[in-house]
């Protein structure tokens, strides 16, 4: 009986080898032919796995037009010789993992990418290392893709001669998780991308933005960290974006901010950390936004609001050690509210011990207004005269706007989910 079972199993295995409905495995070794990887893809059937052994492969553009899994063993190096795009994936359900992809070279005529997903769906790109690629991973009309655990390092020097690490265009339902994007133009770039999640990524040292959103609605991004990028994170012309538990820090420079909101509506920004940015959040023409439970620590300006911002509600945030807590245009018609925040420069008292200050706090000082009108006056920062000026204005407010006022300032810091 046992012998029969064994024979049956052997028969099954042999059958599986021949039947295209079962996945086969093709092993690729370096120098086995001229273009071993492309050859393997051409020979494979849909559903097959192509194993790439350790070694260095110099390749031309590899077209992945079948539903295959391409898996590297011990990170084989796929090198484009500085001349070509490397993987162009046009089939659905392709998985690319465990590769070290490098050297696409810079082209001013085409957007060369390490891996390009083109008009397909359900692809998975994970555990790859992309080094010195012009664009790292480029998604073009791709849906339901998963980009996970990739390390994408460029060496961008100039904005116009560099590409984005993860570039997504006209895509839907993406999941971008746990990637590291370093030294590109933008870390993660979204244009016309809807219903996607960006989580646990780390984006740093990029020339322009750590994350760049344009015309992309209904996305969530959470638990990412953005640091040392040229201008921080920009979210523009989009609605229904949720930003939770992200860390924006060390975006320090003359035109730099932690987070830029431009023409954004219906958004929830909570439990984020903004530390040591020139401007923590810069808000322009954005409406119906809730900011709550965020930490603003040691920024130049914690929040800067320009005109045309309506219904921004700043609630239960901690503002500590910022050079300026708030800079906003005063207007009696706007409906922005500030309430129950902790301000480290609050100097009221709390007689009834309910943890809410008994006198309202005006986060905008007189000097903030002076600086708004005359930026050069910033050279007087921290001078004795300015302290006296602010003090006298605080004792009897005349110039500072009436409606920018926290009537219920918190006495002790709000307990937040983020750690500093």
């Amino acid at each position: 009986m046992r012998v029969f079972t064994f024979l049956f199993l052997i028969f099954l295995l042999a059958f599986a080898e021949r039947n295209p409905a079962y996945a086969a495995t093709i092993v690729v070794e370096p120098n086995s032919s001229q273009h071993p990887i492309q050859l393997a893809i051409n020979q494979a059937n849909a559903g097959d796995t192509i194993l790439i052994k350790k070694g260095t492969y110099f390749v031309a553009n590899i077209l992945v037009h079948k539903r295959v899994t391409i898996r590297g063993i011990n990170n084989p190096v796929i090198d484009g010789n500085g001349e070509t795009e490397i993987f162009t994936v046009s089939s659905d359900g392709v998985i690319i993992e465990g590769l070290h992809i490098q050297n696409t070279g810079i082209s001013y005529l085409e957007d060369r990418a390490g891996i390009r997903l083109k008009q397909n769906s359900h692809c998975i790109i994970r555990n790859n290392k992309l080094v010195n690629t012009f664009f790292g991973i480029y998604l073009e009309k791709s849906t339901d893709a998963t980009i996970e655990n990739n390390l994408i390092t460029g060496n961008a020097i100039e904005e116009n001669a560099s590409g984005n690490a993860i570039h997504c265009w006209y895509s839907k339902r993406l999941s971008i998780r746990h990637n590291q994007t370093i030294k590109h133009r933008d870390g993660i770039y979204f244009e016309f991308v809807d219903n996607s999640n960006i989580a646990e990524n780390e984006s740093k040292d990029n020339l322009r933005y750590g994350l760049h959103f344009m015309f992309s609605n209904d996305n969530n991004y959470f638990q990412n960290s953005f640091s040392n990028n040229g201008a921080g994170v920009a979210v523009m012309f989009s609605k229904c974006i949720n930003m939770w538990e992200n860390r924006f820090y060390s975006n320090w420079g003359r035109a730099s901010y932690g987070l830029l909101l431009k023409e954004i509506t219906d958004t929830d920004i909570s439990n984020n950390l903004f530390r040591e940015n020139t401007i923590g959040i810069y808000v322009e023409g954005s409406s119906r936004i809730d900011y709550h439970h965020n930490e603003f620590v040691r920024n130049g300006w914690a929040i800067k609001m320009s005109g045309g911002c309506l219904d921004n509600h700043v609630l239960l945030n901690n503002f500590s050690g910022n050079s300026f807590s708030l800079s906003a245009l005063a207007s009696s018609t706007n409906s922005n509210t500030f309430s129950h925040n902790f301000w480290s420069d609050y100097n009221g008292y709390d007689l009834d011990k309910d943890n809410i200050g008994d006198i309202p706090h005006r986060p905008m000082k007189l000097f903030d207004q002076v600086v708004q009108k005359t930026p050069e006056a910033l050279v007087l920062l921290r001078s004795l005269f300015i302290d006296l000026l602010n003090f006298s204005e605080r004792v009897s407010p005349i110039f500072t706007p009436e409606n920018i006022c926290d009537f219920h300032p918190w006495i002790t810091p709000v307990q937040n989910a983020v750690e500093l």
Binding site: W252, G253, R254, S256, T278, R298, G300, W301, G321, S323, V370, K373, T374, P375, E376, A377, L378, V379, L380, L381, R382, S383, L384, F385, I386, L388
Partner: protein, 260 residues
């Protein structure tokens, strides 16, 4: 001059005021270092105190010491001594003893904190150097005013007014001018104006070290470019040095002619 300097100095360094002054800085710096984990925050807090207190204390104690030792000066003048040496020796002893107080008071806690191996060492040195400069500048100005005025009250009054002018009023005037002429490019003007006031110059030098430049937009760019270059540092240090040299030159001139 050295003998006179040593004589005055050994008297001053043992005085109650010097010890109190040193202790004050020691306590303040230790307290700040213990309370705040962030060293650049400590430097900013110390900067606020130094810019406020060093000029005030240097000018007040300088003038006090001059009037207190007036009898002794007259005694010295009766001796076959060079007049310049007497006054310069006195000036250097008072400013050096105050400078040592400052150096010890701020230096010792930071040394124990391990500033030498910290990346903030350069910011800290800027703070120390500007503090010492302010000390020497305001002691010189106070000494000059004391020499010029026989009347003690008048000398005191004019020193306080001068301190008030540099610490507060000057900034007010700058702010007024800036807001009146805000339609014009004012970067060069602000740069020049800040070079003329030693307190402002010290403050800006420290703040630019501490990266505040990034807040300042275009003006900040102009400033950090200027103060970041060797030329700019040379200009600002020599501007501070001039603030010592010009009063000293005047002291020299007056001491030669003055009747006692």
């Amino acid at each position: 001059m050295y003998k006179i300097f040593r004589f005055y100095f050994s008297d001053l360094i043992r005085s109650r005021w010097t010890i109190l002054y040193t202790l004050f800085y020691l306590l303040l710096t230790t307290g700040l270092l213990l309370l705040s984990p962030n060293i650049s925050k400590v430097i900013i807090s110390l900067m606020n105190v130094i810019l406020f207190l060093v000029p005030l204390v240097a000018s007040m104690l300088g003038i006090l010491y001059y009037y207190n030792t007036r009898d002794f000066i007259e005694l010295l003048l009766a001796q076959p001594l060079n007049r310049q040496n007497i006054f310069l020796g006195q000036y250097f002893s008072i400013s050096a003893s105050l400078g040592i107080s400052l150096l010890a008071g701020i230096g010792i806690p930071f040394l124990f904190y391990g500033i030498l191996s910290s990346p903030e060492i350069f910011n800290y040195l800027t703070l120390l150097v500007t503090g010492l400069f302010l000390n020497f500048i305001f002691a010189a100005i106070a000494f000059l005013l004391a020499l010029k005025n026989e009347n003690k009250i008048r000398a005191f009054g004019s020193t306080i007014i001068l301190w008030l002018f540099f610490a507060v009023i000057y900034d007010g005037i700058i702010l007024l001018l800036l807001s009146f002429f805000r339609d014009y490019p004012l970067e060069k003007f602000t740069l020049g104006a800040s070079l003329l006031n030693p307190i402002d110059l010290s403050r800006i030098m420290i703040l630019l070290q501490l990266d505040i430049a990034a807040l300042m937009g275009f003006t900040g760019a102009v400033f950090s470019k200027f103060f970041g270059s060797g030329f700019g540092i040379a200009i600002s240090l020599s501007s501070l040095a001039l603030w010592i040299l010009i009063p000293l030159w005047r002291i020299n001139r007056i001491s030669l002619k003055k009747d006692f």
